[in-house]
């Protein structure tokens, strides 16, 4: 059993949750799927005194489209993103990434908002958020604000979220028809976190290119490669992408899955693979 005494709240409305998080700012943790937080509590690594469960707030669980964007509620489960027809059609990168997270049981319960709030440096979503140019909606009892993905990830498991605030929505642009996308991850065992992952989003005619890497630093990072691909794919362009990825991965950590040099070498490989995949997925004409 978890040793820390917990005061538990299960609000049914977002407004109630935000009021609770404000009242208990500092001692409260919002609980979404709990796939990381609950084991951390069991192990005594996290010891929140107040839990505000978001699992009973239907208004945070949705996938909807507007003419330009897809809006994803923070409590949308990974399994929903993996199987949702709108996501699969308009943002297949995200469906693909979601399908690699943990296992079926974890994907049934874990949420995109929980994952992005936890912000593991090798998680599947962050490079995709960066490459796609996503925006995060952050709410508190005082109001709402929007943060671009590139401003959101701050450090090792650190985000722009402040005490009393909640990530409530992820907004991603519709990419189908105008962009080619690719996502690649290096892992040894089904369901494990990637050791290195890479996401690429290329606009038709190589008008814009965004490449992001995960697992090679304290947060996922964007790698500047657009200038190398002005004239499309070539051996020389891919070599430049590889060199840029290697340079950007200079702070890659060492652990039992691989040392820093290995991760930097894999950053080269996975950056090129993601770019090649995205280029191959570019819509014709």
């Amino acid at each position: 059993m978890i040793s820390q005494e917990i005061e538990f709240f299960a609000p049914k409305l977002l407004s109630e949750a935000l009021a609770l998080l404000q009242r208990h700012a500092g001692s409260a943790r919002p609980l979404s799927g709990g796939m990381t937080l609950v084991p951390m509590m069991t192990l005594g690594i996290a010891q929140p005194e107040v839990i505000v469960s978001l699992n009973h707030i239907p208004e945070l669980d949705y996938v909807v489209e507007t003419p330009e964007v897809i809006r994803i509620g923070a409590m949308t489960r990974h399994r929903t993103l993996e199987t949702n027809t709108l996501i699969r059609r308009q943002f297949p990168l995200l469906a693909d990434a979601a399908s690699h997270i943990g296992d079926v049981q974890v994907r049934h319960r874990g949420t995109i908002g929980g994952s992005l709030a936890h912000s593991d440096p090798a998680a599947d979503y962050p490079p995709i958020m960066l490459a796609a140019g996503a925006r995060m909606k952050i709410a508190s009892a005082a109001g709402e604000r929007w943060v671009a993905a590139r401003e959101y990830f701050k450090g090792l498991m650190q985000t722009d979220l402040r005490p009393g605030e909640l990530l409530t929505e992820i907004e991603v642009p519709k990419l189908a028809g105008k962009f080619g996308c690719g996502y690649q991850r290096l892992h040894r065992i089904e369901g494990n976190f990637p050791i290195v992952n890479a996401a690429a989003v290329i606009e038709k005619g190589f008008r814009s290119v965004r490449l992001a890497l995960g697992g090679v630093g304290e947060t996922a990072i964007l790698v500047e490669v657009e200038k190398h691909l002005k004239n499309g794919l070539s051996e020389a362009a891919l070599q430049s992408v590889s060199d840029a990825a290697y340079a950007a991965a200079k702070d890659a950590p060492s652990d039992l899955n691989g040392d820093s040099d290995y991760r930097r070498a894999m950053a080269r490989v996975y950056a090129q693979r993601a770019i090649k995949l995205a280029a191959a997925a570019l819509p014709a004409n």
Partner: protein
Amino acid sequence: MKVPIEVVVNRKPHHVEVDTRTVVADMLRDQLRLTGTHVGCGTGSCGACTVMLNGRTVKSCCILAPDVDGQEIMTIEGLADDPHHLHPLQEAFVVNHGFQCGYCTPGMVLSALQLLNENPHPEETEIRRGIAGNLCRCTGYQFIIKSIKAAAETMAPKK
């Protein structure tokens, strides 16, 4: 802190006083005495604690008991309608030697049920992905996969 919850387990409503620090797996085992749900790692890796929550498999060691207030759970004890007969999946595991020590079996069977509910004719790779969240340290998985294939044959509507 103790809170009262209402939870439907195996189609029966239960009123339970739970400590807010309790996870669902411990509530099922210690308070409802449904010991078919096993706890292996306690941290979401092994899948021995798999149950169905509102019809979808989850790891019950990673969900706080107060969070299932008003929800519906099915454990391995609720799989067969009649206590004197096995569900076709259980039958297939017995016939095909789909377990040795049996510790992972309740979770394996429920993961297999989830898979076959969504995909009545799975390929072997789909079976392997379907049980990726369940560790077995005895069988090497071959007989488990054989059991699930056999269950698919008997359970699925004929093609």
